[in-house]
Each structure stands twice: as structure tokens, then as C-alpha cells.
Symmetry: C2
Subunit: 219 residues, 2 copies
DNA sequence: AATAATTTTTAGTCTTGTCTAAAATTTTTT
DNA sequence: AAAAAATTTTAGACAAGACTAAAAATTATT
């Protein structure tokens, strides 16, 4: 249906729109796509012609319903493939993203349906991100940053803000992985670093930088 | 490493070379690639520059070791993905080829290694074609055409010559699937159609056209 | 050996997606 | 409100991969 490149642009614009309500400007798209503003202008004209987004010169862009639908489909494919790579092929959570960037462009609705079923209709990918449903609905939860949790508060590690390999590998090393129960024992006033208890037994120290990138589900 | 298109050309030339020992000419490549002779000339110049094949104007092409290696890697990926689609996702044997045509271009050696292991190091794909090993070795068997089998001879259905959906669906319908034991009961002199016995109990009639496209393993 | 038919290559054009440099517009600063 | 800075668009060019039409080379036929 749409090219590899078009899908990547739509996905990038969709993700920018998620955290930024107003129209998306050319430079921010160029930044996340690692390309030039001129190339972005070229592409958004094409996407606008195809009614995938609304574009006014110098005013930025906004996805149409059709553009958003396509973007969400690509995100769904990406996260299902990440889940496959992690759950079935035993890739670590920091290794799945780059391969899924390729796999998300494979075109076959049946393939995605069957993959979804094979994986047992997962709701979240290996990073805790929600997998959009077939109909485009995304069930989001309200998570709180570990850095925003108050003393003695408990929660389950449910996602990450930063998706870089470096950060994911660090979490893996200190065993701060999805699903673990965390209780805030101490908040150090000087550097806002935390002492936390993991699953009742283990006790570790983490920096505020780390805590600011972990999403928690609390009761 | 190489583009989607380059990989497809190398694979096509490799397959032509398999059944035709001498140099491969432009038109035959154009035919299997469903493109024009002019486009083929353009591409073989590029592949020649990259030392993937040897090319002399008007004399056709021949893959170099490097070109052959790349082609075999692509065939390996194609057949492993077909096996995944069939064995794990329950696609029928006539549905896997088109999707594997896309999946074979995903670039990640680790992915292929892990997929191979996950599938239990399969030796043949859903059509009975051998899966090249990681080192490029292809273990071929000598099969005989069902149409060449003599009266009372027994064998196991082990592959197909024609890979079209139409033919594969037909075999599925008459239950002539891989692994079934077949015995030739009668050869009709008029049209060379066969009466065959399937797994001791069932007896069916098949045309010579069908028999000529089935590969048998005999003792 | 000359002619006809076939095959292959070249020339020129197109589309997609990219780039740099320059021009136009908008936003910020004075 | 003008000038300066930043952003965005346009213009022109390029590479990959494809196509058509015409020219060149090879092969087959007489
Ligand atoms: Mn990802
Ligand atoms: Mn993810
Ligand atoms: Mn196939
Ligand atoms: Mn096959």
C-alpha cells in the first residue's frame, strides 16, 4: 500500500503528535528522521497529496484519520514483531528494536493476524509499550514515573521512557526488569537518588536519571 | 549489504544457473524477473561492477563465488521463513511463498541463526526443497519423477517441480502431500495417467501432467 | 555470403527519495 | 517597527531502478 519510507514518516509524525498536541513542524520531523528539512518538505507534500496528513506551508502538519490509521498499523506490527523476537526467539529487550524496524514493513494482514494469535494476543511489547489492537484502539494505562513516587510507595515496573540500548542494557544488568515489584525506601535530598527494595528481598540504589526513565504501575 | 533488488536478481540468476550449466542470457533473466531486457542489462552492469557476476557484452553472465554465496544466503532465508510460516503460523504450503519473498530480505544474521534453531534446524521447506546450511552447503537428494516410476514401485512424496499456487492447492485437495507413501498400480498407455495407492488403503487416479510435477524418494 | 530474424545494448526519460544552496517566510530581538 | 535570527520552502542536481524506442551485434535462414 504505502512505501517503506512513507510508513516511516507517518510513524515518526504520529509519535511526535503523541507528546505534542499542536501541529508538527518540519525541523522536528527532520530531526527524528535523521534527514534534512528540505527532504521533509518534499515528503510531506507527497503525503498531503495522498490525504495522509494536512499541510499548510510554514504551518506544519497534522495526520488525517487515514494517516493516523496507517501509523498505528505500523506501530502494531512493530510491537508484535518485537514481542515475537523476545518471547519466541529469545532476543534480549535491547536487541529487538532494529530488527522490528525492518519487519514492520512486511505487507500481509493475514501474517499479522496469525502472528498475533501465535503470540497469544499480547497486550504489551517487551518494553511495556501497549500493542494497538487490530481495530486501532490503544489501551493505555496511567503510569507514574519511578522518580515521582513518594516514600514507602510500592509499584510494578511497567515500562520505560528511554528506549536506547544503553539504558535497556543497564536496567538488565541491575535487574530492573518489567514486572518487578519496587518499594521506595529512601529519597536522597542531595541528588534525588533512590534506595529501593526489589521483590521484598533485594535492596539497591539508583540515580534520579534512571528513576526518571522508568514507568510504574501503582495501586 | 545488498539491496532488495540486487538480491532478487542474484537469486534469479542462481536458479537459472542451477538447471542450465552455460552462461545465462539477458532475455531469460528478463523473463523470470518479469522485466525488460534493457533493465536487465542495466542491472547486470552494476552487479558486475560489484564483482557479483562475470559479464561480457552479448555473452551472458555467470555468478562469481561471492554472487553465488549471496544468492544461496537469500534462498536459505526464504526457505527458513517458509518453514516458519507453515510450521508455526499454520499457513498452507501454497500461501507461504509470497510472504517469504518479502521476509527473505530482512537483514540480520543473528535473526536467521535464532530462527533456524527455533525451528529445530529443518533440512527441507514446506515444498520439500532443501534448506541451504549456514555454511552454504546444500544437501541434495536424487529424487525421481512420479511419472518416471515403474509399475509396482513404491516411494515417498518428497517435493514438487511446479511451485504454483494452483498446483499446490490441487495436490492439497487430492491429499497428495509431502511424506505420503505412494505405489504405482497401473500406468494407462493411452494418456500415461496413473492409478496409485496412497498409504496402503486409498486408491486414486492422477494425470501424467500431475505425475510429472511430483518428486519421489524411492528405495 | 547475403539477408532476415532475434537478441542485446544504448540513449533518453521517468519516479522515488535524497541532498545542497539559495530564496522566502516567520519568529525573535533590539 | 526595523533588523537579525531561525525556520521553511524552492530550485536544481543526483542515484537507484525502471521503461520505450532505436541502434548494434549475434544467430539463423536462404
Ligand atoms: Mn521499538
Ligand atoms: Mn518497543
Ligand atoms: Mn518459495
Ligand atoms: Mn519453497
Amino acid at each position: 500500500m504505502y512505501s517503506y519510507t512513507e510508513e516511516n514518516y507517518l510513524k515518526a509524525i504520529y509519535k511526535l503528535q503523541e507528546k505534542n498536541n499542536d501541529a508538527i513542524n518540519t525541523n522536528s520531523i527532520a530531526r527524528v528522521m535523521s534527514t534534512t528539512a528540505a527532504s521533509v518538505t518534499d515528503m510531506i507534500k507527497k503525503l498531503s497529496d495522498k490525504k495522509l496528513l494536512e499541510y499548510q506551508k510554514y504551518k506544519g502538519v497534522q495526520l488525517t484519520e487515514s494517516g493516523k490509521k496507517t501509523a498505528i498499523e505500523t506501530v502494531r506490527k512493530h510491537r508484535l514483531w518485537e514481542t515475537f523476537l523476545h518471547n519466541k526467539l529469545n532476543f534480549l529487550w535491547d536487541e529487538v528494536h532494529d530488527i522490528a524496524e525492518q519487519l514492520e514493513h512486511i505487507q500481509s494482514q493475514t501474517l499479522i493476524d496469525k502472528l498475533d494469535e501465535y503470540l497469544g494476543f499480547p497486550t504489551h511489547d517487551p518494553h511495556g509499550d501497549p500493542i494497538p489492537e487490530r481495530n486501532g484502539i490503544i489501551k493505555t494505562s496511567n503510569y507514574v514515573l519511578l522518580s515521582d513516587m513518594t516514600l514507602e510507595k510500592e509499584g510494578i515496573i511497567s515500562g520505560v521512557v528511554n528506549h536506547s540500548s544503553l539504558f535497556l542494557q543497564h536496567l538488565q544488568k541491575i535487574e530492573l526488569t518489567l514486572g518487578r515489584l519496587v518499594k521506595v525506601i529512601e529519597i536522597n535530598a542531595f541528588d534525588l537518588s533512590l534506595s529501593i527494595q526489589l521483590d521484598k528481598d533485594q535492596k539497591i540504589q539508583i540515580s534520579n536519571e534512571v528513576a526518571r526513565n522508568i514507568l510504574m504501575k501503582t495501586k
